[in-house]
């Protein structure tokens, strides 16, 4: 699965009643911004490497968080990361992210499932962790 194939496949597919709006992100790396209908606020960024298809959604930045409750938030993020379907929580730079990694041999159906789940999980997580924002 490469970025071009994925762009074309997502453009005219629906999955579980969702449609996908795909926009390439300009730059050296092949990155897509995928907006899932019904979860437009949390776009999913997709990049394909030799070993995996990486999908991630930004949740919040470190400076948006209440510093006094950071440990509690981290603890809760670690705990919730395990049962959350197809997603894990992580941090890259200052961004806290929810992400999922798929095998590069995954088909469109699996990728769409991942995108929908990830976008919905991101919304649930934002609402769950809202109290930790500064």
């Amino acid at each position: 699965m490469d970025i071009q194939t994925l762009t074309l496949a997502l453009g005219d597919s629906t999955h579980a009643g969702r449609t996908f709006d795909v926009m390439p992100i300009a730059g050296e790396e092949p990155v897509l911004q995928v907006t899932v209908s019904g979860a437009e606020e949390t776009p999913v960024y997709v990049t394909v490497t030799d070993t995996q298809i990486l999908c991630l959604v930004y949740l919040f930045d470190e400076q948006e968080l209440n510093p006094e409750r950071l440990n509690e938030l981290h603890e809760n993020m670690l705990r919730i990361s395990v049962p959350m379907p197809l997603s894990a929580l992580g941090k890259t730079g200052d961004h806290y992210v929810v992400y999922g990694a798929l095998s590069p041999t995954s088909g469109t159906a699996e990728i769409m499932q991942e995108l929908v789940t990830l976008a919905e999980n991101a919304i649930d997580l934002l609402q769950t962790f809202e109290d930790y924002l500064a």
Binding site: G27, Q33, Y45, T49, F60, D61, G93, L126, E130, L133
Partner: protein, 231 residues
Amino acid sequence: MRTVLKKILTAMRGGVNELGEAVVDGQGNRILEQELRDSEHELKQAKQELAALMAESASLARQIRSEQDSASKREQDARKAIAAGQEDLAREVAERIVGHERRGAELTQTRELLQQRIAGLKERVQRAEKQLADYRRELQVVKTNERVLRTTAQIDTNINSQQSSLSTAKETLERIRERQAREEDRQTASATLEKELTGADLDEKLKAAGIDGEQDAVNSVLARLKDSPAQ
């Protein structure tokens, strides 16, 4: 692997995650890739050597068996010669037997040495395979890390150029709440419309006013029945 993970974490904590400051730089990657290729090469060589030695060992085993077979066959000949009183012939056969036994012993010794080399080589192959898997895993971590850093930098640049700034979590939450409220309104509206279309809302209003069509119908049937009592 531990070293690579520690390097990545140390660099991250130090805030060295800007583009162009990749944690394990390109040079490091190339070294890892070279090590990977060397390991692959060594593994291939070791496997070829192993295959050759195993073939040689199998061939030796065949030769040893053949010497043993010949010796035991000659033993029967020697016994027959002794039984026939042919002492000289028996001695000649016995010399042959000694020859077979000596060659068999020599071959067995050679094969034992070979078996030792094979065992050592098998261990080397296993080590190389493990090493190779380790290098592949390390390289994957390093490459993925770099990719994530470059990708997020690219996303940030892009978002920043499109909007005044990356929208904050609070703004996103506000937009989510607005959409959820809109969806709720839409659901309420469509439930209302559904009632209107089926006339369910009118029935509800009539019932509330004490006017119940169903009840009226029952009453009128009852009245009719009473007017025409059974004969």
